[in-house]
Each structure stands twice: as structure tokens, then as C-alpha cells.
Symmetry: D2
Subunit: 440 residues, 4 copies
């Protein structure tokens, strides 16, 4: 997003970081605006955090890592927050148990908003001073970190609302697509929906490539170092799998047929009693509806399928005679077949339909995170940053799988070919879908 | 509380019930007044319910059992509430899972308060009409039911606040006792505290007695029918066990000595890692502090010990060379040695100290619920009421133990000798203590 | 069984105890005779113990409580056995975890049999000497203890074999009843089976009674002291509930109807997915079969229903418009309506049919344990024995319910009116049934 | 091991397969020879299987996959065995629950041995006939499968015996090493032990390589297809980490320092309360002892450390300033630095010490399985075999990590550079250790 500048440079340069700070912080607050204090307080499962916690924890990051060592005469907003809003940084000390984040009714939402306001003012005071490159980079990391939590805030509140039998909407605003053409096809057979872009197979030739962050702009440590990989060659789909395609899998009885599933995936299915993706439910007319941030909506055939676990993505690929791509294949294809990437103004609340006019690899850039078959592991030569912020990525490099792309809920700037998202195989409350690949 | 009246009686008679309705409903709302919407929404464990749920469920009782069959042109406030706020009445139909009551951020607290307001208006309209005795009894049951939830609201919010590392207070108001004499003894050795009433042993002679509701005033079905019992004779303590006495048990190492405990109680201790009562914690000066609805407070020696499980009550009694009384012994003693029972104006937030001036059995009437060794079982000839309200008590008559007396948080009118409270042996978030008995 | 004798009495008196010792010990061994070393080693659930453990633990009792303090120059058979075969006696010290008893493949079965042989020889040497009354009582307690384990050995092995999809039989020997008349009715409608004794209601008048061990013969401490109780009067059934009667309950859909069940019982049903008693399964012809120690057998209509949890017994009684008796009612009725009790030579492997010729209360004495509604609690004035053997009964007096009567698998001499068996409400692997009572 | 032959070839060729069959089957039986029927029956945890189950399941493989489709007039040894001894092949149908394998006391061990004898005779009859290449390959797969179970039989019985507080030995035979020189050093400081080979860093240059089965001899499907990989270059240790080296890690307090551990690894440590590797325990002299198949033995400093979880291997590497190798690095190094691999006659019961005379990469070939940082995934172009045997490897390719090398308990022939073993990160009951790598 921003490159560090020489501390001696003109003030208008530095104010770019200050402006970015203000923008990101304002965006987080805007995401919480449609929510009541009650919505912001509750935790629906250990994996998800309350919105209030996201608001406070992202602030804690700046207070703890930036202000505490760099602000003259630092005094904490509240001494207990150091423990209360630490996520997992062992280097910082104790932390409140993750599964009990929802029990903290006090401080109230308003007090947390006051915490944000105060820290923002102190941060802007600090940002008005010359900052060395290392401190600029740290603040930039804090902003990227906060943007990651913006996406989590949306997926976490979506999960919470989905647990409510009233199926309340996060945003009552008109459901753009449903109001448009697609709604007309709701009753029609899905294969007739004209809006869905045809799936094309893009050839990825064997050969040496390089992947990883190339040096321009911000990147997380886990995207580095850039390094060589050898691809054995494959074909990769021009777009993610659609709802219509996935529904054919569901309707074929696949959730009752062990042959399609990894052994562990089958056990997971049985233990959850899952017979369709997380937020799908039968509608009264026998079709499918999907819980969204706009409430319960008819399933849209041309939208990418979303909220899949790794097991579901893998099983679909197997059923379709294909496989998941590796993360190296994905990254190389994204660069080689880059289409026109529409500039995305802000996070949206649901993946858009994949229109037939789309072309190139990124036919639906940043609509859904795409599972790859690559386990999340350090790149050759990877070294985490020193100090507590070094706990950012490396300590999670086991038993998780890499997702590439970016979702409708990803903040602008977080959709880049080298970005490595990662989740355990059972996670399906994120906007997770898949793209097919197949061996030559 | 109230006896049903002839429907043809004068209107001022009926308005007694209307007045009682207004009083009880107002009291519930007052208990929630110090709480934020966030406080009211969260559930800290499956056994406890959110305050908002208590506010709604008690209203649901009147809407479902009274208005639905008796209000002309009945229409529900919200059709989903029938399921959402059903506690356990199978006869009414489906119910929201108990452990997920805290996930319902919507309806908001304000909407639930509106629900109360609307139902109250409709109930007052109904109460202005002549009602037959059966309907009066049903409304009276609804009020008693709501009063039981008033006590639960306090104990549930206490548990929630206790999970918060900030140890927030429900009521910041001056901690009456702490501000008075006792505070002076905080540092002194406990046995020197002059306020504690001496424990006397009251003799209960062998012989036939009768227990159970005698017919005057309201009683729950589980207090009936009145029936004969034979007591083999014992001595029973003049007051509950105090903090000072229980602390001697703790300080003796009793939580590490299996000989004092029931086998199941010892296993429970180990599984929880408990080394003292639920809300006790070491204070910085090496003494004990106790989490209360007024926040963390120094342990008061002359107050009755509170928040004990059955296992802890039983172990203390064994250690003290005594035993728990049976519920029949308790009830008979309460009648035979009835002291002057001070009129209690309202529920209070913590048990009062047991003053040396107290006399008779009820030296601290209604300060703590007292565990008895009696399993909760139907009285001879017991028959539950017909219909869904018949699920009120009888279906829980297994694996629970009877508690007698009443606590500081019990509403006025709920402290009577025949009242049977009941909880599983592991419950300790209620205001539960004990009184000793011993065989002759 | 035996009364202690004056140590100075003639040797033939003492040899009665020696003879009893030899008989009981031989009987235990005989029960294990049909079992392989593999059968004897495995533990099918934490509640059940391996047969080898029963063989060793009963021996440990004599070695630890009798030989260790009383044998000159005592040396243990194996020093590790003190921990390995301690069941729960905290006074003795450490113990092997209960749920891991099945992991002890060594010592081998043969070594445990050698342990028995050696301890038996040492015990007989001790029994040949004059013994004081206290030691005689202790040995008698050890024999009664071993007899209790004989019954557990059978129920535990039955559970283990029931987990085997091959449904193997403990004893292949001809299934006495199945080979006789009843087999002819297997296909006929159950109500036509002529062998079932008609159920009569025996009146139990209100009034003062006394229950508890009266002083003649052996009794466990929990049967004492004898004390007065007041009965409010009821009617009690002349025999336990039969398979035919219970099948009508099952066939009525009762396992899907919450109204019949205690709230906790209903939750238990759901969590287990239980739709019939533990060992029942549908036979190929659409009828019911039952797993027995003789393998899978057609359900016999005139046999008492068996292997019920407390919840099932309670639900049946409610469905039948009756209730479970209290233990005091049971004991008084057993004495007042005592029929002719056939002398039982040895434990049998399955309850016998209740023949129409039976009369009096004990129409099927000792065929099934009968659940009562009485929680297991100390009698007034109860005091456990001193020392580790005092842990025998008292420490389990919570959250268990009393069963009266005795089962086909109970050793001769264990069927007496004052005997108090006890199990948690979920237990159904014992030979547990029920008898109805109803208020006047 | 064997290559398929032309069915028309001379009988002595075919008899090579028959001979191999006889050898492998005899070896399995020999491994069970020191075990009692009780030892063979019990299951110590869901991951481990009883020895009797291994004996039966490996036989089931031949009966189900070879005899059933190829034996004229096939009739099963026992119809229930098809379900009882199916491990996980969904294509074959139902299977007995994995966690309940230890409850099958019948068939008895002897009956399973008879099952083996009968199937062996039928297999030898079939092997005496001309077999096409596909059938030969299937039988070869069955033998490799059985050899894998030979190793599991040893690790599973080791775990079972380790649960026994008597710490019994599988083989009482002299503990070769303990009886020799090393025993002398038991009391000495570990760094003085002269036998430990010095650790050298072997350079692995960047560049393209090929890995995977090269076409000679047997390989499992997961070793194919051979394919190109690019290595970024590293150094790899000449031998696995030793007990002395790992003990330094333990003694440094590493099990209490979260900075060394993956987040998930730290949580695992806490949940198990682990403070040292699985089978380590403090000896009375303050040193360390290790449970082995020869019983409890003093820890030998020059032996490779063994029974580590992935988390422990990763944490040690991090602490040592290194990392785990990838499986491609491991395989390439094994080929490039291949030392003289001693021919191993048979599986042994414990890893041998790493002698100072060792040279090259394989200084301790096949002593311990070595964790790599590579998640178990399909090779590019991987396709499982058709039919039920295709469930052999592919369905487990998620959330497991690849181990390379081979252990003391691996059968001869199973130690080859392309062999891919795999286990979940928490597994530590296999003979699992590690070798360090580091970036250039």
C-alpha cells in the first residue's frame, strides 16, 4: 500500500501514512455502524470474535506495539486492556482466553469506541512527527492487520446472525443482485441462467517459475522470500466453481457417498450431520436458500459457491474429475492470465455473480477465497520478524491450508497474487470457495 | 400471596391481583435497570440465562398461558417468540436450545422491554374483567414464576460479571456492611469478630409431624400434599455456617483431603481444580476476598458462607462431626423454633451478617438457601397440574437436592417453611449455604 | 450369613467360616470358568471391570484388610498389586485409574489365579486359628463383598459380549426356558402367553413401621440402624413388570413422547439415541430379541423386563398411571406380603418367567433388582465403620437410587428385605427392572 | 521387492512370490509369538489396534481382495469377518468401529491363527497356478501392506505395555546395547559418551532434481509419479538428533517456553501436560529412563531421540536454529550422500546408537522415522489405483506430515529413499525422530 519514506522528507509525504491510518480506522468503525451494542458483544463460537473485540484488539495493536515504545510519557488507556485485548502474542504476556471473549460485557461498546478515539488522536500526534522507516513499516503492518480484522468482523457477525432463528440481516439495504436480472431466474432451472461465465481451462506449461512477493508495495512476511518453483504443468479453470455447479454435486447425493471424500472429511461430515454447505437451507418451494449478510436469500446460480470447508472443496474437485490447484500453480496462473481487474472501492457483503463477459483468470477477482491443496508452510529461507510482531504468521504454519485470491469482504488492496490466506480444513465461516485444476 | 376470589366479588378485590401483577412486573424491570444491553444479552454458561431472556420468558409465560387462551382476538406480539422464549415446556412445542440463549442479539433489549409493556397492558385489560378462580390461580402462578426468575436474574448476572477479569459491580452503591462496623475487623483474626451469633443446638424430639403446605396462601404444587412424617430426632443448628467457620475448614487443608468428601464430590473437586468456594479468591494481603454483586470485597467473617455445592456443604458437615438436615427436619425446626422474622422489604444483593442478637431457628431468615440431604422427590400423593403448566416442577424430580430457607436475593413472600427449592449437587452459582444437624 | 463366634468356641464352629470362605471363593472361580483369558482381560466401559480384575480385587480385599494386619510375617504376593487392585479405598493409598483396568494384560489370568490360590491357602491357615469377633466380622464382610463382585462379574461380562457383533454366549448350555413351553409362544401374540402371573394390587395401610436390619444375620452398614418410618399408605404390585407389559409401552411410541419422561430422562434418551431397553433389538421377523448370557434370544413375554435405567422405570410407571414405590414401602410390603420364597441354589444367568402360580409379594423373588424412587441416603443415625473399610458404602450416598429385591445373578443369601442396592439413574447394565405402586 | 513375471514363465519364478508370501506371513506370526492371548486382544487407544486385529486384518486383505475374486468356489472362513476386520475400505462395505477393536474377545486368538493357516493354504494353492501380472502386483501389495502392519503391531503393543504400571517387556532378551559398552556410560555425563557420531552439515546445492519412485522394484502408489522439483538449496544434517542433544533441549526448560513452539503445538503440550517425550520418565537417580520393548531402560545418549510428535520435532529444530527438511530435500540428500547402508536382517526393537564410525547421510539408516515439514499431498499427476485397494493412500492426504527414512521396526525392504510414511502431527507412538536442515 505505502512505501516507507525518508524521515527527512516533506511533511506531505508523511501525511500519506497519516491519511491511510485515518481511512483504515474509519472503515473499521463504519463496519460496526449497523450493529447494536448487543450484536458487538456476543461470541458465537470459539473461532469467531465479537465485533467489540475486533474494535478493541486492532486498537491494542497500535497502543502496544507503536505507542508504548514510541510515545513520550506513554500511559495506557486502561491497564487491564493489555491482557484483555491481546490475541495470541506470547511475547506480550498473558491473554484473556479466546473462547471467553464474548463474556466481556464491560467495557461497554461506547468505552471501546472512546478507546479508539483516544488512541487515534495519540497516533495522529505521533504520525505528525518524522518517523524512521522501521516505525513506518510497523504502522503499515498495523493497518494491514486491522484490514484483516475488518474481513473477520464481517464473517464473525455473519456467523452470529446465522445462529439466530430469526435470520436477521446485517444490512437491510436492497440486495443488489436479487433486485436485478438474476431474480427473474430464481424459479427457472439453474443451467438456463445466462449470466454465468462459461468455464474455460487455461493451460499452465511445465517449467521453472518464481513466486512470492516481488518487492513492490506492502507484503506480509509469509509472502517472502521470493523463490523459484518448478511446475509440472496443468490446466486451471478460468473462474471459481458456481452455486449452480456445486448444487449439482449436492443434488447428486454426494454428501452421502464416502467415495468422494477424504477419510477425515467423511468423518467430519458425519460428526456435523452436514448435508449441504454451512449456510444453505431448503426453502419452502423445495429449492435452496442461503443465509447472507442481507438475511436469507434464494441461492443465485451464477454466484461462486461460498463457505466451503477444505473437505467440501476437495470432494467437489474429485467428483468433477479434477483437483485443487497448488498455491504455486494458482499464483503463476493469476499472473500469466491476468484479466482486467476491476478496481474495488470497498468490501462488499456477498460475492457477485460471475458474468459471461468476464475473461482471463481473474474472472471474479476477490469474490471468494479459493482453497489450494498446499499446506501452509514457510517459504524457503523464511524468517519471521524479530520481537512480538514476529508471532504474526510463522507460529501458525501447521495443519492449515493456503487460500488464494480474496473475497468480497476483503479490503481493497488485500487482493494480490502473492497473498497467502490460511485456515484449518474445517473452517467454513469465511468466504471460501474453490477453483478447479487438472493434470495434463 | 393472594387467594383467588369469587368472580362476582367487588372490583377492589380483583384489583389486588392487578396491583400484585403491576408490582411484580415492575420489580423485574428494576432489577435489570443497572444493566446495559450488553450485560443483558450474554450467557456465561448453559445453566445461566441472559437477563434479556429472563425479561422475555416471564412475559412469554403470561402471553402463552394466560392471554392466548383467554384474550379475545389474541394475536402474538411476535410469532417467533413462542419458540424463542419457551424454557422447557414440551407441551407448548419446540424451544430454542438452552445453551444458545446468549446468541440472540436480536430482538434487542428495547424490543423485549416493548414486549413487556404491550403484554402488561393486555394483561391489565384482562385483569380488569371478572376472572374465575382457576384463571386467578394461573396468574398468581405466573407472578410466583416471575419472582423465581428475579432471583435467577441476579445470580446469573453475578456469574457473568464474575467471568470478567475487571470484576465489575452490578451495583456500585455503598456496600452497606463493609462501610459499617465489620470493615474494622477485616484485618483482625476472624474468631474475634463480635458480630457473629453463637451457634446453639436446638433439640428436635422424635415423633410424628406433618409437613407440606398447610393451605393458607400460595404454594407451588411440589409443596403439596401436606402429609405425615416420622422424625427420629436430632439437634439442629440455630443458624447457618458462617464464613469464619467455613474458612477454618478451607485453611485446614480440607480441599486436598479425600476423607472428608463423597466419592463423587472428590471427583468433582479434581475435575474443576477447585480449592475454595466458587467466588473466593486470595487477596493481596494473603486473606480472602469474595466476588459479590458489589464487586470484589473482603470476606466478612460473620456472614453466612455462600455459593457452596452440595458436595462442599456435605464435606463441611462431615468435617464438623455433623450432617446436613433432612428437609423434614428443617421444616419442622423452622416452625418449632421460629424466631422473630424481620419483614424483608426487597431482595438484597448479598447475605447479611448473622448478628449476635439473633435468636431462634431463623437467626438469618432468607439469607442463604440451605442444602438438605433430601433428594428432590414427590410428596406422597403428589399430582402435577394438568396441561403444560403441569411441567412446572414434577419433571425435575430426580438427581437434585432440596434447599430450604431462602436467600437475600429471594423476593419477599418466597421465604416460607414449606418452600422447596432444588438444584443439582454441582450447582454453586445460587446463594447456597448450609446449616448443621446431628443425631442425638 | 454367619454370626461371629466366641474365639474360645469349639473348632467346628470356626470351620463354618472357613467353609463359607472356601465356598464363596470357589463360586467366584466357577463363574470365570467359561471365559477365556481374553474375555477376562477386556473392559467394555468405565463402569464395568474385567473379570480378571474382579478375581484379583476380591483377593486384594482379603490380603490388604485381613492378612496384612493379622498374618505373622506378612509379605505381599506382589508389591504392585496394592495399587493395581485397589478399587476406590482412599485410605489404602493410590489406585490404578478405573477406566484403565482393561489395559492390564499382565499379570496374566493364570498369575491372578495363582494369587487367589496363594491367598486362599494363607487365609485358611489364619482361619484355622481362633479369631476374635471383629476379625470374623471383617472376613464375613470380605465374603459378602466378593459375592457382590460375583454379580458384577456376570453383568460386566454380559456387557462386554453384547459389544461383539457376533453376539457370543457366556454359556452355550441349553436355555432352560427357551427349550420349554414358552418357546412355543414365541410367534404368538404376547398377551396370550398363559404363564404370566396376573398382577394384583396389594394394599399397604398408612401407619408407623420400622425398617432396616433387624439384627439377625449379616447386613451391610447401610442397612442400619433400624428406625421408624411413617407410611402414608399405597397399593403395591404383586410382581415386577413383565416383558409383555413393557413391550406395550415401547410399541405405543413412548420412546418418542417427552410427556412420559423426566426432563433429565428425555435428554438421556436423546443423547443415546435409545429406542428400546439396552439389550433389545429387532429380530428379522419384526419381533423383539434380547441379548442374554445365552446369546441372542427371542424376548420372553412372561419374564420380568430387565436392564432398565431409572428413567425408563419411572417413565413406564408414569405411562401406566402409577409410580415407583419408595424403599420403605418396598421393604414393608416385602415383609407383610411375604410369599413362599423358593430356595435358590445358585446365581442364574437370566430372570425366570413369572408363573401364574406365584402368590404374595415376592412372586419372583430375586429375579430383577427393582428401582425405587428413593435416593440413596444414610438412615437416621447411620455411622460408617472405622478405617478404610468404612469407605464401603457411605461415600457413595449421593445421586444414586436404591434398588430392592435381588436378581437372578445375585448370590444366595443376598436376597433379603433390608438389602439396599444402589446405582446412578443411567445404569442399565445390571439386572434392573421395576414394580409399580400407586397412591390410594 | 519382486517384479511381476510373465504368467507363462517357469514355475520356479512364480515360486519366488510364493516364497515371499510364506516369509512375510511367517514373520508376522513370529512378532506375535512373545505375546499372550490377553496381550493380543487389548486396544490401548483408538489409534492403536490389538495384535490379534493386525493378524486378522492382514489375512482379511488376502481373503477379500485376492481369494474372493480369484479362488474358484470361494467361501469365506467366517462370514462376519468381512465387516469385523475391514479397516477403512468403504468400497468393501460396513466396518467395525475402530475404537472398539479391543472389545472383540471372540474369535479367540487361536481362531484367528487358524484363519491365517487356512487362508495361507488357499493362497499357496492359488500361488501354485499361473497368475497374471495384475494379480501378482495385488499379492505383492498385500505383502507390503502386511509388512506395514508388522511395524504397527510392534508400536501398538509397545503403547499397550507402556500403560501398564508394571512396565512389562515385550522381549526379555538381553538388551543388546545396554549389555555392551554404553551401559558403562549410564552414570557419566552424556557429552562424554564417545560413541555418538559427530553431526556434519551436508550441502545440498540449489537446482532441479527429480523425486519419486524411479521404476525399479515395488513402490506404493503415493511414491509416484516421479517428477521434477526445484530445490532452493540448504544444508542437511548427517544424522538424526540424538537423545543427548534432545535432553539438552528438555533440560533447558523448553517444554515451558512458548516461544519455541508452534501455536498449535503449545496448546497440545498444555492439554497433555507433557514435559518430556512420550516414553521418558525420571529415574530414581534424577536422570532419565525410557520405556522400551525391553521394559524400562536408562536413556542412551548416542541413540537417536524417538517418539516425538511433529510439534516436538519442529520445536527442537527452531531451538537449535535450524528447521525440518522438506521431503524433497530429504530424498535428494539421501541419494546424493548415500553412505554404506548395512543390510538389515530383520526388524529390531529399538533404535541403535549412532556410532562415530558412521559416514554419509544415512549414518543411521532406518533407525527412526524422520519428520519432514512437508504435508502429505499427492505428487503431480498422482492417480490412485482403481477399486477398493485405491483407498490405500490417497484418501488420507490431508492434515498429515510426511516422515522419511524408516525405523528399527520397519521390515527389511521398506527402507528406501522414495518411501513416504505419514502421520498426524500429534502422533508419537511410532518410532519418530528428526534430522535438522538449515537454509544457506
Amino acid at each position: 500500500m505505502l512505501r516507507p519514506e525518508d524521515p527527512g522528507a516533506a511533511p506531505q509525504i508523511l501525511s500519506r501514512l497519516a491519511q491511510a491510518y485515518a481511512d483504515v480506522r474509519r472503515a473499521t468503525r463504519a463496519l460496526a455502524a449497523p450493529l447494536s451494542a448487543e450484536d458487538c458483544c456476543v461470541q458465537s463460537m470459539p473461532d469467531a470474535s465479537p465485533a467489540k473485540w475486533h474494535l478493541a484488539h486492532t486498537t491494542w495493536f497500535f497502543e502496544t506495539f507503536v505507542l508504548e515504545p514510541h510515545e513520550p510519557g506513554f500511559a495506557p488507556f486502561h491497564p487491564a486492556f493489555r491482557v484483555l485485548y491481546n490475541s495470541y502474542y506470547q511475547g506480550v504476556g498473558a491473554r484473556h482466553p479466546r473462547a471467553e471473549r464474548g463474556l466481556i460485557t464491560r467495557p461497554a461498546l461506547q468505552e471501546v469506541l472512546d478507546y479508539r478515539t483516544q488512541v487515534d488522536a495519540r497516533m495522529q500526534a505521533l504520525l505528525a512527527r518524522p518517523l524512521d522507516a522501521q516505525l513506518q513499516a510497523l504502522i503499515e503492518l498495523g493497518l494491514q492487520h486491522e484490514q484483516q480484522h475488518q474481513e473477520l468482523l464481517l464473517t464473525d457477525i455473519k456467523h452470529l446472525l446465522s445462529c439466530n432463528p430469526l435470520a436477521p440481516a446485517y444490512a437491510e439495504a436492497a440486495y443488489a443482485e436479487a433486485a436485478s436480472a438474476e431474480a427473474a431466474y430464481a424459479g427457472a432451472a439453474m443451467q438456463d441462467a445466462p449470466a454465468l461465465a462459461a468455464l474455460r481451462w487455461l493451460p499452465l506449461a511445465p517449467g521453472l517459475r518464481a513466486i512470492g512477493h516481488a518487492g513492490e508495495g506492502f507484503a506480509f512476511d509469509n509472502e517472502t522470500p521470493r523463490h523459484r518453483v518448478y511446475l509440472n504443468g496443468c490446466e486451471i479453470a478460468s473462474r471459481p466453481v458456481s452455486n449452480a455447479e456445486y448444487q449439482a454435486f449436492v443434488d447428486s447425493g454426494a454428501y452421502a457417498e464416502p467415495a468422494h471424500w477424504l477419510a477425515e472429511g467423511w468423518d467430519w461430515l458425519q460428526s456435523r450431520g452436514r448435508t449441504a454447505p454451512l449456510y444453505w437451507q431448503r426453502s419452502e418451494d423445495g429449492g435452496w436458500a442461503e443465509f447472507t449478510l442481507h438475511g436469507l436469500q434464494p441461492l443465485q446460480s451464477a454466484q461462486p459457491v461460498v463457505h466451503l470447508s477444505y473437505y467440501e472443496a476437495d470432494a467437489y474437485a474429485r467428483w468433477a474429475g479434477a483437483r485443487l490447484p497448488t498455491e504455486a500453480e494458482w499464483e503463476c496462473a493469476a499472473l500469466e492470465f491476468a484479466g482486467e481487474v476491476p478496481v474495488q472501492a470497498a468490501a462488499r457483503l456477498h460475492p457477485a455473480s460471475m458474468k459471461s463477459a468476464d475473461a482471463g483468470f481473474c474472472s471474479a477477482p476477490g469474490e471468494v477465497w479459493e482453497w489450494t491443496q498446499s499446506s501452509y508452510a514457510p517459504y524457503p529461507g523464511f524468517a519471521p520478524a524479530a520481537g512480538a510482531v514476529g508471532e504474526y504468521n510463522g507460529k501458525f504454519m501447521v495443519n492449515q491450508y493456503v487460500l488464494r485470491g480474496g473475497s468480497c469482504a476483503s479490503p481493497p488492496g488485500h487482493v494480490r497474487p502473492s497473498y497467502r490466506n490460511f485456515f484449518p480444513t474445517v473452517a467454513c465461516w469465511q468466504f471460501t470457495g474453490l477453483r478447479l485444476a487438472r493434470d495434463l
